[in-house]
Each structure stands twice: as C-alpha cells, then as structure tokens.
Point group: C2
Chain length 333, copies 2
C-alpha cells in the first residue's frame, strides 16, 4: 500500500523546476503507446539526453526463437520501420515463413513477419553466443539506425503471468492468443525476484533529471519494470532530484488502446486517470491527463500528484512531438 | 585400396537376378542429382518398397539454425515443392528475412528463403527439444506429404571438410561461398568415427534387395555416407543378397552438374565413369553410364563392375521415371 503523500510531491512543476538538477531523461515504456511518446522524445532530445527503458515481461519463445515484443515495437518505431496500421511489426512485412510453419502443424497465433523473424533469429543466435539482451538490443538498434539508447529493463528473464478465471496465462497467451478475454484475478512477474535492473537502466536511474512514465498499460508494461528489486526504491529516491512525470494511458474511463482498462477494473482499480495516479502515487510527481478528464484534477491532486491537462492522445508524429515538448517544458525546457 | 574383384561381382545382371532375393530398395543420395533419381524411384515404388538415405555431411549452422541442405533438397523434391530453376530451395520462395539479416551485418551468402527458413527454424526447435534428426525428418516429410521414407545417414554430426590450397573449408563455405573455387588436396569427414548409421539407414541396409547409388558427387555426397563405421562393410556384405547399382554422375569427362569432376581431378581420380567405377568397386555391381561413354565399358568391366549403357541424364520427370524403371528392371522388375 502506498504511504501518505510526501511534501516534495506537492510542489507544483513550476516550483519544482528550480530545484531539479539538469540531467538525462529516462523514459519507461511498454509497447505501442509507450513507443509513440518515446518517438516524440527522441525527436526533440539528442541520443545522449534520453534513455528509453522497455518492459521485457512480455518476452516469449516462439518456435525456439526469443521474441521481445516491446523492445521490437520500440526499436522499429524509433527506426521509422514500424507498421503504421498496427503500431507493431514491420511495415510491408510478409508472412511466408509463418505460413510454412503453420503447414508444419505448429501454433502460429503470434504474428511473425518474415523480416521481423530475422530480428528474432539474430537475437536468439546472439543470446546463444552469450550476449546479454542489453548488448543485443544495442547491436540491433545500431544496425537499424536507432541512436536513442533503447534498454531492456533487465537482462534476466521476468515473465508476466496473468492469473485468470481460465487459468494462469503468460502475457502473450493472454493478450494475443486469448485476445485479452479471460477475466484477470491477479498478475505476477515471475523471475523478478532474481532479476537486476540492466546496467543501462541502473545508470539511467542514477542519472535521470526527468523520469517519464509513457502511456503504457500500468499492470502489464510498467509494473513488471517496478517489480525488479530496487527499481521502485530508486524511483522514490529520484524524487529528491528528478521530476517524475506520467502520461495517463486511461482517457475518459478506458484505455486509449489495449486492455489496460479491462484489467484495472478486474483487479479492482478505478478505471480512470485517478486510478493511474493511485497506481503511481509514490513514484510520480506529475500526471498528464486528457482534457476531458480535467474534472478529475482535484482527486489527483488529493493523491499528492500534480495533474497537467493536455492533449495526450497521439495520432500522428506532430502529436507525439508536441506532447514530448510539453513534458520537457515542465522540467525547464 | 579396393581389393581384387570378387567373382560375385562379375555376374551379369541377368544371371544375378535369379539369385537376388526380393527386398526393399535403398537409394543413397546427396543433393540435386540424387534427388532427381530418388523422385523417379518414388514414382514407381510404394513408400514401403523404398528408403532414401541422404548425406548430412553438408549440414551447417546458419544464424543459429540447423540447415540440412541435402535433406531439404530431397524432401522438397519429393514433395513437388522444389524450385525447378535451381533444383534446391522452394519454388516461388521470397528472401525478405535474409535481406533483413543482411541489414544486421551478418553474412548471408547461403541463400535461405522465407518459407525455407521455416524448415530450419522447426528443425532447430525440435533438435533443441531432443528429437533426433531422423525423427525430425520424418515429421517434416509427413507435414509436406512425402510418404517415401527420407532418412538422414546418421543422427550424429558428420561434417565434410575440404582441405584446399586456401585452407580447410567446411562444405558450404567451399561449395556456396567460394563457389567450389579453391583447389582441393584432401577431404575429411569430421565426426564420422563417432557416428552411427541412423536406425532407418541400418534397417534399410539390412533389408535391401537393391541398393541404388544415385548420381551424386562421390567425394562430397556418397563418401560421407561410406565414412560412417560399418556402412562400407554392410554394403560389401549386401552383395551376397542384393544387387548394388550406381548411376555415374560423370558423363563424357565432367560432372553432369556441380564440381564433382573438378574435385575428382584435383584428388587424382580419373574424371570419367571409369573413375566412378574405381571409387565404388568394392560396393557396386552395376554402373549405369551414358551412351557417349559406351567405349569405356571394357575398362569398367575390367574393374569387376557390369556397365549398363543408358540415357542417364535426367532433364524432366519422364527421364527420372524411365531411368528408375530401367534400374528396377535389372533387378527383376
């Protein structure tokens, strides 16, 4: 249970700005929604001003290949290669290998394009050669021309498992195969106890002058990151020197995208930006909420967070850059 | 060195026929040339009358995936899926994953199509799960509708290494990357000492009433099979009950296809069907040679093999079936 609000978090961004040392920006993100804001941030910050730390709780092995869906979504987005229709996968990819695999009688409910497969093949090969996921991600980014550091939350496996009325389901089984249908009763982040923040994540935590919680699913994208021992404490401590900003993934009573609203409701959270504020209350100072949620501002303030009302739905690159700039302006530009 | 001809091998096929017990047909094959004759045999024999044993000395790991080029060529050919232009790979395959891998800075000189990749992904996955190469090959064949048993020569790794003036080269490096350019001084079949004939191969050796050496490269496709302990002895012993027939891969002083002629010359073998006869003299009774090589018949007979002159170049399926029938007719139809 979160404790009572601490005084520091009651500072308005304007007052806080003066007390925040300049520092790097650390963005925490999951998949598609997170990648949108990360893209905006990457357009207005240089590669040495920004680190994007990505959830790997969704990682899964398909056909013997290590797939990191959120890392790939982030990398493809920042590389300008992402499929604009879906927000994930590669633009114009084909699915010939998957069709053949289907012919071999294997389950192919997880869509893997041919060019996308190359990423998983290469990652799996390098893992087998002893590279860490961080090193591999750096290598793949370099090859795809992504200069912004994209950093897995951990080099150790953490697996998000949803406990549902249909049984325990790994994240991709729940999300893709079952289309987020089964009612969720609990979520565990298997392996998190033995995981460490990746070296790049720890460095970013130590150096951050601004932490941005991208509008990702709190339960499935952000909590796995927070489940790594020491991360929550580091984020709490960062409040002494860094402004910590979240963008609500919930707008007007439901998620902008995906099952965050459904899951929050099933787990007894209020499905609103107030629910998001409560989820992040110890580790976030400022919560960006949509204009339609402006009436909820007092309740967010009551939780010790400063609400900022802004257009937070990002449809195109202009939206993404504008939101990124608005967040950075809070921190003194 | 082969010993002197034994009397049994001097029997004409006509005389031998009476003494040969009916039995299954065992075809030994490498890649494209071998697959042509195997296809012909598969068209005139039922799946329980024929076993096709395939060289795995060319197997290689690309991008962490286990590739069995000769097994795939055979399987795709028998499935009617092979690319008719090349004789290997899948008809109409695309190369999108390989292009992406190239973008990741890895060597992509070995052509792997997208649908073809599915085969290697599946094989690698099943190997990691503890399946033998024999079991995997059976599974893939079943999925592709290939009823003729396709059997790897061994479930243990045997790797053909060419010692060349440019250094030691694994088969695919020599054959594909170097386009069979470097001069070969010797060939070794690394791992053969510790390999066993696969269970299916051993059973086929024990049961064969007819052994067919398909027109594959002797040094690169057939000798790896013969290098497995016990195989040569089994083939010698099979002469007591089985007719052993080879089809010359050399016609008129060069290979019908591929570098067999070049390599035989570099290793000091005569590049002719006589050189083939000498290579197989202890284990083959009958050698099919092309019409243009008819004048060499006496020299083949001198080596203790019975030459049979026939049109052995297989351009289309009719040719393949006709040659298969001609061989089977030798054994009493």
């Amino acid at each position: 249970m979160p404790g009572p609000p601490v005084p520091g978090r009651k500072l308005s961004p304007e007052r806080r700005r003066a007390s925040v040392a300049p520092g790097k920006v650390l963005a925490l993100a999951g998949g598609v929604g997170g990648a949108k804001l990360a893209l905006g941030l990457s357009r207005v910050l240089s590669p040495n001003e920004l680190s994007v730390v990505v959830n790997t709780g969704d990682d899964e092995t398909f056909h013997g290949l290590h797939v990191s869906p959120d890392l790939d979504t982030m990398t493809y987005t920042l590389a300008g290669l992402v499929n604009p229709e879906t927000g994930w996968g590669l633009s114009g990819d084909t699915f010939h290998a998957l069709e053949m695999l289907r012919g071999f009688g294997v389950e192919t409910w997880f869509n893997l394009g041919d060019r996308d497969l190359a990423t998983h093949i290469r990652r799996t090969q390098l893992l087998a050669q002893g590279w860490s996921l961080s090193q591999i991600t750096r290598e793949l980014c370099a090859r795809l021309g992504v200069e912004t550091p994209v950093i897995p939350m951990s080099d150790q496996p953490v697996r998000t498992v949803l406990h549902t009325l249909d049984g325990d389901l790994p994240m991709q089984d729940y999300f893709v195969q079952r289309r987020a249908g089964p009612a969720v009763t609990d979520i565990t982040y298997v392996g998190s106890d033995a995981a460490l923040p990746s070296p790049g994540f720890q460095a970013a935590l130590d150096e951050a002058g601004l932490v941005v919680f991208c509008p990702s699913n709190p339960c499935l994208s952000v909590f796995p990151i927070l489940a790594i021992p020491g991360v929550r404490e580091s984020l709490e401590a960062a409040g002494q020197r860094a402004l910590r900003v979240a963008v609500s993934p919930i707008v007007g009573g439901d998620a902008v995208r995906g099952p965050a609203g459904k899951i929050m409701a099933e787990l007894g959270h209020e499905v609103s930006c107030v629910g998001v504020a409560r989820a992040y209350r110890d580790i976030v100072d400022v919560l960006f909420i949509d204009e339609q949620d402006e009436p909820l501002s007092p309740r967010i303030r009551q939780l010790g967070l400063e609400p900022v009302v802004a257009p937070i739905i990002m449809d195109d690159e202009t939206d993404k850059i504008r939101l990124a700039r608005t967040i950075l302006d809070l921190n003194g530009g």
